[in-house]
C-alpha cells in the first residue's frame, strides 16, 4: 500500500510539490520564529546583565545585609580558577567595593564615592562592551591609578594626571588612606553609577583596604543564559548556603523580568497565530487536492476498493509528503540558524540607536537549540496529522454517484 501511495504521488508531482511547499513553509517559519524569539530574549537579557554585573552574583550573607567592609568574603584564588574553567563560564569577575571619602586639590570638601576594585583583564571586555574610554588608558595589571567617570570628571573638574586622596575604613578597621593618580576617564551608560564610582585595579583596592584575596562580590558571566543553573549547581559546593548568598540573573533583574515575560508572551501570541496561518495554508492545499481527486476516488470506490484502504493510502501519501516537507525545512533552516547563532544580525533604526547609547552592540544572535527544532518539527507534524483528517472524512462520506457524474464543474 505504501508503494501505491508513492506511485500516486509520482503521478501528479505538481500536486505533491504544492503540499510539500506548504508544509515546508510552515515548519521553516516556525523554526525560524522560535529561534528569533529566544535569540531576542537572550540578547536583551544579556545586555542588561552586562551592565548590571553578571549572570550569577556571589556575596557573603552578612555583606548583603550590612554592606560593611568587615563582612566581605575571603576566597582562595584557586577556587576562583576552578570556577573559571567550568563549562559555559565565560568570565569570573571578582570585585571589591567599598565606600570612601575622596578629596582633591581643586576643592576643599570631600565627597563620598564607591571605590570599585576590578580585575582589569576580566573586566576589560565587559566594561569595554558597555562603555568607552574617553581619555587615557585602561588598566594594566599592576597599575595603581584610578579611572573615573565622565560625569565625575566634569563635576569635580579633575582630569588625567590629577591626584586624588582617598580616605576610608579598611578591613577589620584599619584606616585606608592613599593617593592615587587619575589615569583615565570612562563614559558609562548609567549616569548614577558614573557620578558615584571610581575604578581601580583589584590588587590596588585590596592593598588599600588591607583585604588580600578578599572580595565584596564575585560575578560570573555565562555564555548561555540557559546554562546558568548548571553553573550554579557546580559552585554550590564551594559556597555553602549558610555563609554565602548566590543570586542568579533572574533575581538580579527581578523587576525587569516582566519585560522579558511580556516579550515572551507577545511572541507566544504571534506564534499561535503563525500556527493558525500555516495550518490553514496546509489545510487549503489538502482541500484543493482532495477536491481535484474526487472523481478518482469515486471511480475507485465504485469498482470495489474498500473505503478504509483508500483512506489509508491517502494517509500514507500525505504523511510521506509531510515528512519530506518537514525534513526539507529542517535541512534548510539548520545552517541558517547555526550561521546566525554565531554571527549576529545587525539592527537598525531608532531602537538600535538607543542601544548604542548604552554602548551595547545593536545586534542579535539567533538561538541554536536542537530542542527547538524538534519541538517545532513535532508541532507542525501534529498540525499535518490533524489536516489529514479532512480527506479521510471526505472519502468516508463520499457519494459515489455524485462524484462520477460531475464531469465538468
Amino acid at each position: 500500500m505504501i508503494k501505491l501511495a508513492w506511485l500516486n504521488l509520482q503521478r501528479n508531482p505538481y500536486r505533491a510539490m504544492s503540499i510539500v511547499s506548504s508544509v515546508f513553509i510552515a515548519a521553516f517559519f516556525c523554526i525560524l520564529f522560535g529561534s528569533f524569539k529566544k535569540g531576542v530574549l537572550n540578547s536583551s537579557a544579556d545586555s542588561i546583565l552586562k551592565i548590571s554585573g553578571g549572570h550569577i552574583e556571589i556575596r557573603s550573607k552578612s555583606y548583603s545585609q550590612t554592606r560593611s567592609i568587615d563582612d566581605i568574603m575571603c576566597i582562595d584564588s584557586a577556587i576562583l580558577d576552578s570556577i573559571s574553567i567550568l563549562p559555559h563560564v565565560k568570565r569570573v569577575l571578582p570585585t571589591l567595593r567599598a565606600y570612601a571619602l575622596i578629596s582633591h586639590s581643586s576643592s576643599s570638601s570631600s565627597r563620598a564615592v564607591v571605590l570599585v576594585g576590578i580585575d582589569p583583564e576580566s573586566e576589560k571586555d565587559r566594561i569595554r562592551m558597555v562603555s568607552e574610554m574617553v581619555e587615557g588608558e585602561w588598566f594594566s595589571e599592576f597599575d595603581r591609578g584610578v579611572i573615573i567617570g565622565e560625569n565625575m570628571r566634569n563635576l569635580l573638574n579633575i582630569g588625567i594626571g590629577d591626584t586624588i586622596a582617598v580616605m576610608g575604613v579598611g578591613y577589620h578597621g584599619v584606616s585606608a588612606v592613599g593617593l592615587f593618580p587619575v589615569q583615565g576617564v570612562i563614559g558609562l551608560p548609567v549616569a548614577t553609577v558614573d557620578i558615584n564610582s571610581m575604578f581601580m585595579t583589584l590588587s590596588a583596592a585590596q592593598e588599600l583596604f588591607q583585604a588580600d584575596d578578599c572580595y565584596s562580590e564575585i560575578y560570573i558571566m555565562s555564555d548561555k543564559l540557559d546554562k546558568v543553573e548548571v553553573i550554579e549547581s557546580f559552585i554550590q559546593s564551594d559556597f555553602s548556603s549558610d555563609e554565602y548568598e548566590i543570586r542568579d540573573w533572574k533575581l538580579l533583574i527581578d523587576e525587569h523580568l516582566v519585560y522579558f515575560r511580556i516579550t515572551d508572551a507577545i511572541g507566544f501570541i504571534v506564534m499561535f497565530f503563525l500556527y493558525l496561518l500555516v495550518g490553514s495554508n496546509i489545510l487549503g492545499a489538502v482541500i484543493l487536492m482532495t477536491k481535484e481527486r474526487k472523481l478518482e476516488f469515486s471511480v475507485l470506490v465504485s469498482i470495489g476498493m474498500p473505503r478504509d484502504k483508500l483512506s489509508r493510502t491517502m494517509f500514507y501519501e500525505l504523511i510521506m509528503v509531510a515528512f519530506v516537507g518537514l525534513i526539507l525545512a529542517v535541512i534548510v533552516s539548520l545552517p541558517i540558524v547555526y550561521y546566525f547563532s554565531n554571527n549576529p544580525i545587525p539592527l537598525y533604526g531608532e531602537a538600535a540607536e538607543t542601544l548604542k547609547k548604552f554602548f551595547i552592540y545593536a545586534e542579535i544572535y539567533l538561538s541554536f537549540d536542537l530542542s527547538l527544532f524538534i519541538e517545532q518539527f513535532l508541532i507542525v507534524f501534529c498540525i499535518c496529522l490533524a489536516v489529514i483528517a479532512y480527506p479521510v472524512i471526505i472519502i468516508q462520506r463520499l457519494k459515489v454517484d455524485e462524484g462520477l457524474s460531475k464531469r465538468e464543474s
Binding site: Y14, S18, S21, S22, I25, F29, L32, F33, F36, K37, V40, S43, S44, S47, I48, S52, A112, L155, P189, V190, A191, T192, I195, N196, D254, E255, H256, V258, Y259, R261, I262, T263, D264, A265, I266, G267, I269, V270, F273, L274, L276, L277, V278, S280, L283, G284, A285, L288, K291, E292, L347, G349, A351, A352, T354, L355, K357, F358, I360, I364
Partner: protein, 398 residues
Amino acid sequence: MKIIYKMACRNIFRRKSRSSLLIIIIATGVFAASFVVAFINGWANSCFVEHIDMQTSYLQIHANAFSDTNDVSEFMDKQTIKEALDAVSEVSCASYRLKTNALLSTAQTSVGLTLIGVDRDEEIKVSSIYSTIDSCHGTFFESDIARPIVISQRSADRLNVALKSRIIISMQSSSGEIQKVQFRVGGLFQTNSKRFDNVTAFVQNTDLMPYLDIPDGVVHEVAVAVNNLQECNKAKQKLSRLLPEHDVKKWDEVYPLMQLLGAWQKIANFLFLALFFTALAFSIANFMLMSVLERKGEFSMLKKVGMGGNHITLMIVIETLFVTLIGTMIGLILCLIVVLISSKSGIDIQFIFNNQAGYGFGTIIYPMINKRDFVHIFALVSIISMMASISPVKKVLK
C-alpha cells in the same frame, strides 16, 4: 476592460472554496497582526501610565549633584525653578519635594528607604499614589494625625505596623547630624511595583523641613507633569535651557534601564511582526502558485481564444486584489470587535505571570489600535498579495 473585470468577479464566485480559503488565510494574517499591534500598544501605554503616574512623573528636576545619593545639602532654589516652569507652556503642574534617605525603625526592625516630603495639594496633581489608598487604609495627608507618614503596604508588612502605629525616622541633616523623629502611619499605599513600594515613603514638607537644617524656599526634587506625552521632549529641552545649572531628566532617563528595555521591546516587536508578515507572504504566494497551476488548462484555452498574457495576468490580479480586500476587511473588522470588547474590561494577563504581582504595571491590558496602524497593515497585505499573485502567473504563462 470591463469584460476582464466581469470575468474576474465571476471567477471568484465560481470557485467558492478556493476563494474562501485564500480569504481565510489573509483574514487570519491580518487579524493576528493587528491584534498583536493593539496588544502591544495597550501594554506600552499601561507601562507608561503606571510609571509616569505613580513613580517618575513626566520630568524630574534635581540639582546636578543630587542624583542617587539623595544628599540633603544639594538643594535647589524653589523660586528659580518655579519661574522656569511658568515660562514653559507645555508644563501643566509641578510638585516641589524634599527628599532624603532615612531609616524607619520600630521596636523590632528597621528599614532604610527614601523619604519624600511633599505638599499634598501639589502632589496629588502630579502623582496618583493617593488614589491607591482606599478608605480603610488611611488617607493621603487628609487626617488630623500629627506628623503623618504614608508608607507602602509592603513596607508596613516588613515593619509589622498598621495605621496609626508609631515609627521612628532617623535621617541625616545637611550639617551631618542624625535626627530621630517620631511619625505616625497616616496611610498605606500600594503600586504595582514591588521595588518602588519598598523604597518609598511620603511625609509632609512642613513636617520634614525643620529636621533637615536647610534654608527656606529650597527643594530637592521637582516632579513635573506635562500636558501630554508627546510634548515631553519639548518641555525637557526648554527647561534644560532655562535651568542650565540643574539636571532635567525625562521619565525614561530616571531609570535608565527602562530605556534600554523599551528599546529591546521595540526591536522584539518589530522582528516578530516582520517574520509573521514574511510567513504570510510566502503562504499567499504558495497558495497562488497552486491555484494558478491548477488553472493552466483554463489559461491555455483563453490564450487560444485570443486573450493575451497581459489580459490574463490582469484578470488574476483583479481576482487577487478583490479577494485580498475582502480578507483584509474581515481581519480588520474581527480585530476591531475584539479590541472594542476588551477595551471595556481589558485583557487580564495575570496567567502569564503565575500570579506574581508587583512587576511595575497592572496586569490588565486595554488593547488599542489607531487608524495609522490599520492603514499600514492594509497596505502591506495588499502589496504582498499583489506581488504574490503576479509572479506565479507570469511563470505559468510562459
